[in-house]
Symmetry: C2
Subunit: 904 residues, 2 copies
């Protein structure tokens, strides 16, 4: 029976129906109000209408459940008896606030009504009781402004014309009166002014909204409650929930609470405080307050707030006295309370308080938001204080937030001229001179210039320029475009897709680009913030990150708790060095394609591509061999015996040939062949869908000599180091884009032959592995067979996502954003693994692969290897390691630890 259901939860005077663990039912605010009561803290009495009421309300055409009214009345009676006043009473009136409170905080997204209960009968009583008519009329003014807006207009579904909303009109009347009276601030208006104003307000409300402002306290209360429930499905709230991934079914609770006033004179005040410093985590009480003010005044920033502590005042060089100085006993009480709350909740607290005529009331407490450095310091300190366990500490820090710690940041105080906005493709900030081609970028960098490379889009041909640059800007391409992926891999800041968001045109003829009429010439200084997607004029000073001792301690704990290894995707000794510094335990993906680009190599590579037969190709490849051997030596040396997975050549050959006529002509000249011949070859290599084309192991099969050369270089490098320097090395040779076990078998046999030959020639025996990427749906489906030939699987979830979903990541920009916006998918599947599709294939492949080959090594080397949500999935599936870009290694280490804890 519905009448049996408990819809309303009372709190007050040290008692509460609810508690902190009932956030789902009471919302965060309601649960904590209840809990503070249970702790015996001074909280204005009130009651919470549960989220179930909201659910019921929306399931029943906005009707309330039976019995709700009775339960509210009953709770209200309890509140009255606790607070010693009566709602609507002409002599001793009680005022109420009506506020929302969802499971998860949605700041500013839902409605609040204060001062509920003021009406023609209670106003004189309250004036008599407080002896302060100005305070009372001011409170009434606020009630009318809020209520007419929130309840009478918004919740009632009135849609005013632009600029004709009731709130705006009343604001305007207030301003007009202030002007007429020559007042600067609201506080300058007298009781009489305000009395006159509320009279006019009521006329205006009737005129605009066609209804009288309600004079019945009970009607006001229910109006407020209804407005809060209605605001759950307001446009702003829905949009916010979509972004934050909060389910629409959750609903909100409504908290009805006795009003207390910080604006009843010099012995009243209101403030917010944190039990530790939220910006750096220091263990010090930190807060701000205002004397004779209401909460909204603190938030609105009309008056300069004062520090709560003396120490805070001194640090801030403030002349305004601290609460510690103005109201020492109340300050003492507040300190005691925050200590109790922090000890009770075992986490840093964000509290709101009001002092009404010398009496302290707690209005809210919750776990405080904090910066990444603060999160780490607080977690480490609390473990050291014995307050929490290491496991709890690990779970308290959002891995994604670590990113803030690892990249240079723009000096927040420096002035900035933002000229373009694009996608925040790779975090960090960098300044440099604009260069419009990779070659020019490289040349400038060689001269010691800091360079920002600005391109239409990037391709593997630009890698040397991207390496040379401090940061990258592209006109086209999304979060997972070539530029974005490579930049994240290199740890270079990158702003991509500037053409979509803020049209940016490159004018190659005049070596400049133009954005919104602003012309920037090659060689001009610009600064980019890849964490925000901003491009700025000139040189904005940056601050270097500091990996503090707390960070090291924290990551050590994370490492001790995780099961999965974390490797890095690194192509060069430089990348490997960064990776090692960030704690990588090996290289999970070394892409070898750039080893064909630099300097003479590209000449030899093009010679190979133009060769008419295998003899010609071998001759060309022989020139590249010693250089690649050197590359691998450098990598092995840097990784000091840790495993290194090397992917054999993957991209299609056309990526190694210039696509423009000029480049082709130059190539023809260098190669000493006719332009015709170059063009013919270019034409024959052209592909409709390069992603699904002649690449990966397909190249290895049609031109076995390429992989043979690479394997020879790998093994000669490894065997040489073992022989000369007693290194221990375990190279893992990875064959890309396998779909059929026959492909892998064909290539594995050839690779083994080369390995054996090199080992025989050098007299060194080496434990090496040969494995494959699982990056095609067919590979996942045929995992049982492929595992017969593969010693390891590395899930290439980038390409696996592209093929499974049939989405080219380079082209997805035109619809993926809209998909997320329309709620068709929750997240960009290139950012967080699509568990319902790609994840299913990964699961199948893991199970089939392991049952075919017990002990099969399993890892992931796609972008998802650095995404916390995906890492949780990989932990569940049982992979042995994840591999990600060097700058994401700490994030992956932490996420892997959290995933391991979650699994227990």
């Amino acid at each position: 029976m519905e009448s049996m259901t408990k819809w309303v939860y009372f709190f007050g005077g040290g008692k509460a129906d609810g508690a902190a663990d009932q956030k789902n039912l009471l919302g965060g605010k309601g649960a904590n109000l209840a809990e503070m009561n249970r702790l015996g803290l001074p909280v204005p009495a009130g009651f919470t209408l549960s989220t179930d009421v909201c659910t019921y309300y929306y399931a029943h055409q906005r009707h309330y459940p039976e019995g709700l009214t009775d339960q509210v009345n009953e709770a209200l009676r309890q509140v009255e008896s606790m607070m010693g006043g009566r709602f609507g009473d002409p002599v001793n009136p009680l005022l109420l606030s009506v506020r929302s409170g969802a499971r998860k905080s949605m700041p500013g997204m839902m409605e609040t009504v204060l001062n509920v209960g003021l009406c023609s009968t209670t106003i004189p009583g309250l004036i008599a009781k407080t002896g302060n008519p100005r305070f009372v009329y001011d409170a009434y003014r606020r009630l009318i402004m809020m209520y007419s807006d929130v309840v009478m207009e918004k919740a009632a579904g009135v849609e005013p014309e632009e600029g004709k909303g009731i709130r705006l009109q009343l604001d305007h009347m207030l301003e007009t009166m202030k002007k007429a009276r020559g007042c600067v601030s609201d506080a300058d208006l007298t009781a009489e002014d305000l009395q006159e104003l509320v009279g006019r307000f009521k006329v205006k409300v009737k005129e605009v909204l066609g209804r009288d402002f309600p004079d019945d306290p009970v009607e006001q209360m229910w109006g407020g409650i209804g407005a809060v429930f209605a605001s759950w499905n307001g446009k702003r709230a829905i949009a916010y929930r979509k972004i934050e991934g909060i389910p629409h079914e959750w609903g909100t609770a409504v908290n009805v609470q006795s009003m207390v006033f910080g604006n009843m004179g010099e012995n009243s005040a209101t403030g917010v405080a944190f039990s530790r410093d939220p910006s750096n985590g220091e263990k010090r009480f930190y807060g701000e307050y205002l004397i004779n003010a209401q909460g909204e005044d603190v938030v609105a920033g009309i008056r300069t707030p004062q520090q709560v502590t003396i120490e805070g005042r001194k640090r801030g060089h403030s002349d305004l006295p601290s609460l510690e100085e103005t109201m020492p006993p109340l300050y003492g009480q507040l300190v005691e309370i925050y200590h109790r709350l922090e000890a009770h909740y075992r986490d840093m607290q964000d509290i709101e308080f009001t002092i009404q005529e010398g009496r302290l009331w707690m209005l809210q407490c919750r776990v405080g938001k904090r910066t990444a450095p603060a999160a780490i310091k607080i977690a480490v300190d609390m473990v050291n204080e014995g307050m929490i366990t290491k496991e709890e500490a690990i779970n308290r820090v959002d891995p994604a937030a670590l990113d803030q710690l690892l990249h240079p940041m723009l000096d927040p105080k420096a002035p900035k001229t933002i000229i373009a906005k694009g996608l925040a493709a790779s975090p960090g900030a960098a300044s440099g001179r604009v260069m419009l081609t990779a070659d020019e970028a490289e040349r400038a960098a060689e001269k010691g210039e800091a360079v920002i490379l600005v391109r239409e889009e990037t391709s593997p041909e630009d890698i040397h320029g991207m390496h040379a640059a401090k940061g990258i800007v592209t006109v086209r391409g999304g979060m997972t475009s070539h530029a974005a992926v490579v930049a994240r891999g290199m740890g270079r800041p990158c702003v991509s897709g500037c053409g979509d968001l803020q049209p940016l045109h490159i004018d190659f003829a005049n070596k400049r680009f133009e954005v919104n009429g602003q012309v920037v010439n090659q060689g001009d200084w610009i600064t980019i913030d890849g964490g925000k997607g901003h491009v700025m004029l000139g040189k904005v000073p940056t601050l270097d990150p500091e990996l503090s001792g707390d960070f090291g301690q924290f990551m050590e704990w994370a490492d001790s708790l995780r099961r999965m290894k974390v490797r890095a995707n690194a192509d060069t000794p430089q990348d490997a060095q960064v990776a090692r510094r960030f704690g990588a335990e090996g290289i999970g993906l070394c892409r070898t394609e750039h080893m064909f680009f630099d300097g003479e190599r590209i000449v030899a590579m093009r010679e190979m591509i133009l060769a008419h037969d295998v003899v010609g190709r071998r001759k060309a490849l022989a020139k590249i061999l010693p250089m690649q051997r050197g590359d691998f030596e450098g990598l092995f040396r840097e990784m000091k015996g840790l495993p290194v997975t090397i992917r054999l050549l993957d991209p299609p050959l056309h990526e190694f040939i210039p696509h423009d006529e000029k480049g082709q002509a130059e190539m023809a000249r260098t190669m000493e062949v006719s332009l015709e011949e170059v063009k013919r070859r270019v034409d024959s290599l052209k592909e409709f869908n390069p992603m699904l084309g002649h690449r990966g192991c397909r190249l290895g099969i049609t031109y076995p000599e390429i992989y043979e050369m690479q394997v020879q270089a790998i093994m000669e490098a490894a065997c040489g180091l073992v022989k000369r320097e007693q290194f221990s090395i375990a190279p893992e040779i990875m064959i890309p884009l396998v779909g059929h076990v026959t492909e892998l078998k064909y290539l594995t046999e050839r690779c083994i032959a080369v390995c054996n030959r090199v080992m025989e020639e050098t007299g060194v025996t080496l434990d090496y592995l040969i494995g494959t990427m699982i990056e095609l749906p067919r590979a996942a489906l045929a995992a049982a067979q492929i595992a017969q030939e593969a010693q390891f699987f590395s899930f290439g979830t980038n390409d696996l996502t592209q093929t499974t979903l049939g989405i080219s990541r380079d082209d997805a920009g035109s619809f993926l954003t809209e998909y997320v916006g329309k709620g068709l998918i929750k997240q960009d599947p290139f950012v967080s693994i699509d568990q319902g599709g790609v994840g299913k294939l990964v699961k199948m492949a893991v199970a089939d692969g392991q049952s075919a080959r017990p002990g099969l090594k399993l890892g992931v080397c796609g972008e998802h290897g650095g995404d916390p949500a995906s890492i949780h999935f990989f932990e569940e599936v049982g992979l042995h390691y994840v591999s990600c870009s060097p700058y994401r290694v700490p994030i992956a280490r932490l996420a892997a630890a959290q995933a391991a804890l979650a699994r227990k």
Copy 2:
């Protein structure tokens, strides 16, 4: 124990160790020789070394199993006693033939040695016995020529220089002697000549091969046996097996049989015959023979063969007497034998016989090869004769062979000048004037010209030209290129990829193409044979196909036996008409994209693409609406109430915009916008991988107005017909490229709204279905969810193959052929479904879809819907229908019947 294993199977004198059902063990030839003995037919005695010997031989470094020699000797003794002669006997010598005989016939791929047993001791005896020294020396000459080539050179692994093979040298000596003696044919050489020649032969053999020609009959026999086994792994045989898909493990049997001679005089003869006419299936005994000749003479075509029957002689207007006339009793015996064999094997027989000195010997019988028309006539006749069941009849015809019956053919007797060879992309022959652009092709066709469209490659922009043309030639693209797929769909002959096989260059400036120096101008006549991949100069006369009464009867039986329905992929009323004529039971895929191309539509479509907002787009679409409504009306009318599945717009928008500057300029002029604007839009639509791009339902989601217009056109057409003409119509609306159920849900809701609106407006209630294509791996993986929203699944196995395997079919040419060649994959996965990958997904989707929605309708509309092997798979999986191009409908009907029978 090995010695217990039976390796050798004797046959002769009405007895045999083996029987017809032991083809796997004895090979086809050996099994049938055994069977003929069991039937009491006159067969020269002999024995078969089983395929197990071959397997053993290759598994044991080419050694024979223990006990084989004893078993051969034992069998040889039985042969001797049966034939009344002795192998190697100086007085009454027996000669042997040694022939291969695999499970499946591999004509000409393996070796044969005849006349084994002739040597210095047996030659005089045989001369004495036959009184015919010329015959004996001629036989010896043949033995030396065959044996030295096959055994002493090939099987021994001798690799002679080009032109220095022993066979060539001996041939040359034979010719030299003939010249010296002034002889025209071998038969003119005397016994003495031949005796001299064999003497020289032996010297030559010793000189070239370094060994004496063996003079020991037993050595000769084992040499022959070894050569046959060795030839199983000869290059030719391996290549043949790859093409025919015969497993290398099967091995061959060896048949050692007593020689009989058709060249022992005028009372000897040899011949081949068929129990029914293999070219048209007529029930008449048909064969050819030669008097005084050996079997190889018939095959070699040196002498004009004579007809076996009088009727045959008359039909062939031959002056040479028939066997029926020259040897009436033996003819009578042969007729009796063929009747017995046909009745016994219950199929048309291909027999070989030899008459030695008035005695008839049967050397071989097997099921006869036949043309497609013959196969159908024989099957139908045999059912009518009560010889076989309908089921057997259905299983006797290769569905792929039906293709021969459905397209016009080139007159085989007409002279042809082949100027280029490409891929046989779409069968049939056509002649027409060369046109190099779709527009010109259309214009010429409008004037009543027959046109062959010759293009670099085709795209959806060329569709009108392809429709207008009688046939299509492309320079680039494989068997599954756009041109090939569309041409097959339209039933147009097509030769694709002419540039790869025989470089063909189009010279657009001079409106001509050039191939191997031959220039063909626009407007010149050419003829193409899409079944062979030939392009010919001029007009080659063609013959129209005739769908005979037998064909109709046969297909009726097939229809009665199959479970799956067969629909056609048809886009226009014309296509639909062809489809209906070929027995389609509905349309499984109507691609709507071409409905946006013709005439004014493309103008409106481009207007939509250039529009800045939804209002502009709707305005443009409104112009297309009535035309599409007309298209659908035509289609519904043609299909007379059969189900019609209509796929909403699928290709990316850039396919509707010209890609060349000239076309863009023209478009800008027509649209009255600047070229700049057109170019900007073209740029913004450019995609790296269009296959994985902004197409299918992704378009429908970003531009809902497109699908809304299409659904409106469909429903208005359907409701209008129902209202005006009392039609019964069940349109099936198909949403392409769905990966997430959310996409389908989003679009389904919108489609239903439009349907309801149209039904309300017209007052007609219609049963319509909304379903989806399953063409992405993710769709298959999420089938359980998708089935919640979809009323049917149609597997789009073309795209599903592309994505699952990660292979762009337009780009696969550069490696897929090599994959097949290297044995990495058995078949082009775009021709026959990849059961290990794509098939797994189909299976999963069927199971998950059906359990989520019992009664879910399941079909396939990819190219695989017309491939017999794939159809077997779809039957196993339990699809409800297959859909294929109209010209493949009969093939699919037959294959579906065979699949249903196989399942039972």
